[in-house]
């Protein structure tokens, strides 16, 4: 049978979580030695669950796992690592206050007099591995000071130092720029040539086509089959993933911008580590247009959004919505100005996980007249409107009484979007609105966003997904180091290499060009 050919064999894997969600149902997953194997699927398809079981973070309810032909019980990551499995998490598992070298040897520190950390040795180890695998990192830099791309290299090296032969990469490109992604791909191919096996989780079709050899596609907790990457087209993959053809471009009419709604002037903010996150940011968003904010994450976008929704206070500058200042206001007051926000961190800000879908849909409007009869709730009105929103926004659920935290990522986001879009906003701030969610939900949310802007809302779209900002935005600013590096009036004429240069700080428009985004004095 050539069993030896397979380094990983997962047979008939079923996983049921204590909350009753069957994340995997009889999945078979086989990876050949020395290949780059893609694991594809929408969010909630069960990819992460499957990989968590391979890395020992979860135990399968049923099924068997074979590593190098031998049946193994992976009861913890420590066991998985000892079997040569390494995982590079989407959200890096690194300590920001330690140096790269310290992070590398965390938990397996070389000791001096068997008690103290031998830091020199740690640096040596780091350098040795960096050289060997051609992954350049600075061993002495504090982790929080290095760019995301380097953090990822540290994560990969960390796994390699621990003897990993099989590397699981969980959406490794989600946080990288185009250039950084290219670099990563070169490194991955090198690793493959050195005999490593790579499992690559992603939803990005282009990337999968570019570097993987084979792929397993998952849908609804089941495997939809294994394919040679060269043999399937992007359209076929997309159809297998979502069970229908997804149009990945959003059709939109040309924007007819009217008066200025959001006006930001000279916004400044220095964070607690004395890093200037916002450096005299000024721009306008007009009624009826979508202004995109592109940029590598960590260049001030999060701080900007916080200021716009009054979740934080700037050191200087002004933010007004239809002439009224939002600074120092409560979120209630900001919402009353007609501002709504799709937060980047949807699990922290977007939902109350153990609350019901209904409770989550109503959170911004429970005090309104429509839902109150005297001191009591008008439950009928609430039920009616929740059910309507569930239908309108295609939230896949058993009923409005279901716990929102049990839904898949895409459906959770639909709940957030349903709430934020249905409150008649004049300004919508959409911060990474489709990050990490499935193609179907992504398409739906993008369409809605365009629809609302054309119906007269001003939209500020902050996204690290280049395709998304370029597809959706009418015009676009790029943020780099807390400044606006560039403003493009017409997004349709842009290409991503040019954008990449601005995003990485290689280029910067002059003040005159940037000032064009201020439509009012």
């Amino acid at each position: 049978m050539g069993e030896q050919e397979y380094v990983v064999q997962m047979k008939g894997i079923t996983k049921v979580y204590p909350n009753g969600v069957a994340a995997n149902q009889g999945v078979d997953f086989n990876v050949k030695r020395g290949e780059i194997h893609a694991l594809m699927g929408e969010n909630g398809a069960g990819k992460s669950t499957l990989m968590k079981m391979l890395f020992g973070l979860e135990q399968p309810t049923e099924g068997e796992i074979f590593i190098n032909g031998k049946k193994e019980t992976l009861s913890s990551p420590t066991v998985a690592i000892s079997k040569g499995i390494g995982m590079v998490h989407q959200h890096f598992m690194l300590v920001p206050n330690l140096t790269v070298a310290e992070n590398m040897v965390l938990g397996m520190e070389p000791k001096q007099k068997s008690l103290f950390l031998d830091y020199k040795k740690a640096v040596e180890i780091t350098k040795e591995y960096a050289q060997k695998y051609n992954l350049q990192v600075d061993p002495d830099a504090k982790l929080r000071d290095i760019p995301v791309g380097m953090k990822q290299k540290v994560e990969i090296l960390k796994a390699l130092v621990r003897g990993a032969k099989i590397l699981i990469l969980d959406e490794p490109t989600a946080v990288l720029t185009t250039q950084e992604t290219e670099e990563l791909f070169k490194e991955l191919v090198q690793l493959k040539e050195q005999g490593y096996t790579l499992i690559f989780i992603s939803h990005k079709l282009n990337e999968i086509k570019q570097i993987t050899d084979r792929m397993t596609i998952m849908r609804g907790g089941k495997s939809m089959g294994v394919y040679n990457t060269a043999d399937v087209s992007k359209e076929e993959i997309s159809r297998l993933m979502v069970g229908r053809d997804v149009i990945l471009t959003v059709e939109k009419e040309k924007a007819v911008p009217e008066e200025v709604v959001l006006k930001v002037r000279d916004l400044e903010y220095t964070n607690e580590w004395n890093k200037k996150m916002l450096d005299k940011i000024s721009f306008d968003v007009r009624k009826g247009e979508i202004l995109g904010v592109a940029g590598v994450e960590g260049n001030g976008q999060r701080e900007l959004v916080d200021m716009l929704f009054s979740l934080n206070t700037p050191d200087g500058g002004a933010v007004t919505v239809n002439g009224a200042s939002v600074l120092h206001k409560s979120q209630r007051a900001v919402r009353d100005l007609g501002v709504s926000l799709i937060p980047e961190d949807r699990m922290t800000f977007g939902i109350a996980g153990t609350g019901t879908i209904e409770e989550n849909l109503m959170s911004d409007r429970v005090a309104s007249k429509r839902y109150n009869k005297g001191p009591l709730f008008d439950m009928k009105a609430m039920h009616e409107d929740s059910d309507q929103l569930i239908v309108d926004y295609k939230v896949l659920c058993k009923s409005r009484k279901q716990q929102v935290g049990m839904l898949s990522g895409g459906n959770i986001q639909k709940v957030v979007v349903a709430r934020e879009f249905s409150c008649n906003p004049v300004l919508i701030i959409a911060d990474q609105p489709t990050r990490g969610i499935d193609v179907g939900a992504t398409e739906f949310i993008r369409k809605k966003l365009v629809e609302l802007s054309r119906a007269g809302a001003a939209v500020l779209l902050v996204s690290a997904d280049l395709n998304e900002v370029m597809e959706l935005s009418d015009s676009l600013i790029i943020m780099c180091n807390g400044k606006i590096a560039a403003y493009f009036e017409d997004t349709s004429k842009l290409d991503d290499t040019v954008m990449g240069e601005y995003m990485l700080g290689l280029k910067q428009q002059d003040e005159e060009e940037v000032r064009r985004v201020q439509h009012e004095a």
Partner: protein
């Protein structure tokens, strides 16, 4: 169908917890009592049946004992729902009893009005006292847990100071106040028993709090803040105000319970230490999983257990320390989240599989 199975599981889990707890308790009883059979009978049966007939007096006593712990239990429910681990239910109960008692002694009023005013006063001071940990929490971000725990003793010693130095009835051997005016007493629901109108008030409070928590915007805000504070702030709720309000409501309820208990059970104010209802209230709230509707049932369980243990120590000579241990064992099994978690997982898996099969059938049916 699924709900039914879950419900059945919870029931069986509860029963199993009781059976195991009683088995462990029985071992302890064997070790400490000369007549273990009688002891067990006292614990389990005699609170309601004795000598082949209903032990009516004891039943009323159990219901009477539920009254204060329903109030404190409800208060803790509200505070815990908002994720506020405020432990001052104890002190505010005592304070409510003390202030209610003083009004009952010194301010004459007509019979109908008097207890109502006393109870209201108890509620108000209970609420006011809770402002201290609540405001410190919101304004200075200091732990309400530490602050409220200390507050209990501050309240207790202030009361003792005034009880000893200002309000003591010197003609009595023990430290106590002058007697309450007859008009102020919370009258018996059934004459000659421990059961007062306070019991009905407690049930009414349960209904009010249940409606408040699940059918009003304030209760909603309390619950959402308890689940996720950041989300609530982002949604536009007044997080600070609601956190303060939840603790004030907790104080109001325990203050009310304290006044009702003082005026219903005793004829003078004589608490010289924290009465213990606040702690029991936390047990009640945990058993009720912060659901106000379940509070009377949890209170019944505790009161029954209490009564049984009391009978056991009277009639079977089980020492009171052992009683505490037995109570603790029973509570431990009942409150343990992970108890029978494996069985639960099996049921969940079974359910999920059935659901998958149904879906598949539905899908196939749809295709035909």
């Amino acid at each position: 169908m699924k709900h039914k199975r879950k419900f059945m599981f919870e029931m069986i889990r509860g029963l199993a917890a009781i059976v195991i707890a009683i088995a462990v308790a029985f071992v302890l009883i064997l070790l400490s009592s000369d007549s273990p059979g009688t002891a067990l009978e006292c614990l389990l049966i005699r609170p309601v049946f004795s000598g082949g007939s209903l032990n009516v007096k004891s039943i009323w006593a159990i219901l009477g004992r539920m009254t204060p712990i329903i109030f404190t239990g409800l208060g803790v429910c509200v505070m815990f729902s908002a994720n506020q681990f405020n432990l001052a239910g104890e002190g505010t109960t005592m304070l409510g009893g003390f202030i209610g008692g003083l009004i009952a002694i010194y301010i004459p009023m007509s019979a109908g009005l008097h207890p109502a005013v006393c109870i209201l006063a108890g509620a108000v001071v209970g609420g006011l006292a809770m402002l201290i940990p609540a405001i410190i929490k919101v304004k200075l971000n200091a732990s309400e847990m530490v602050c409220s725990l200390m507050l209990n003793y501050v309240i207790m010693y202030i009361i003792l100071h005034f009880l000893n130095n200002t309000f003591a009835d010197r003609s009595k051997g023990a430290t106590q106040t002058y007697p309450f005016l007859e008009t102020a007493k919370v009258t018996k629901l059934i004459p000659g028993t421990e059961l007062t109108w306070g019991f009905l008030a407690a049930l009414a409070a349960t209904a009010v709090i249940a409606v408040f928590m699940f059918r009003t915007r304030w209760g909603y805000a309390i619950r959402m803040i308890g689940i996720n504070e950041s989300f609530s702030k982002y949604s536009g709720m007044k997080v600070g105000a609601v956190i303060i309000a939840s603790q004030v409501i907790g104080g109001v309820l325990s203050g009310m319970g304290g006044a009702i208990e003082a005026l219903g059970r005793y004829s003078t104010f004589l608490w010289k230490e924290l009465p213990g209802y606040g702690w029991t209230g936390m047990t009640v709230a945990i058993l009720a999983k912060n659901n106000p509707i379940m509070v009377p049932f949890a209170a019944l369980f505790i009161a029954y257990l209490n009564r049984g243990c009391e009978l056991m120590s009277i009639y079977a000579g089980v020492p009171s320390e052992m009683i505490d241990i037995i109570q603790a064992v029973i509570f431990l099994f009942f409150a343990a989240e992970q108890f029978m978690a494996k069985t639960r997982q099996k049921i969940v898996v079974k359910d999920a599989k059935e659901e998958m099969r149904e879906k598949q059938l539905a899908a196939e049916g749809g295709n035909v």
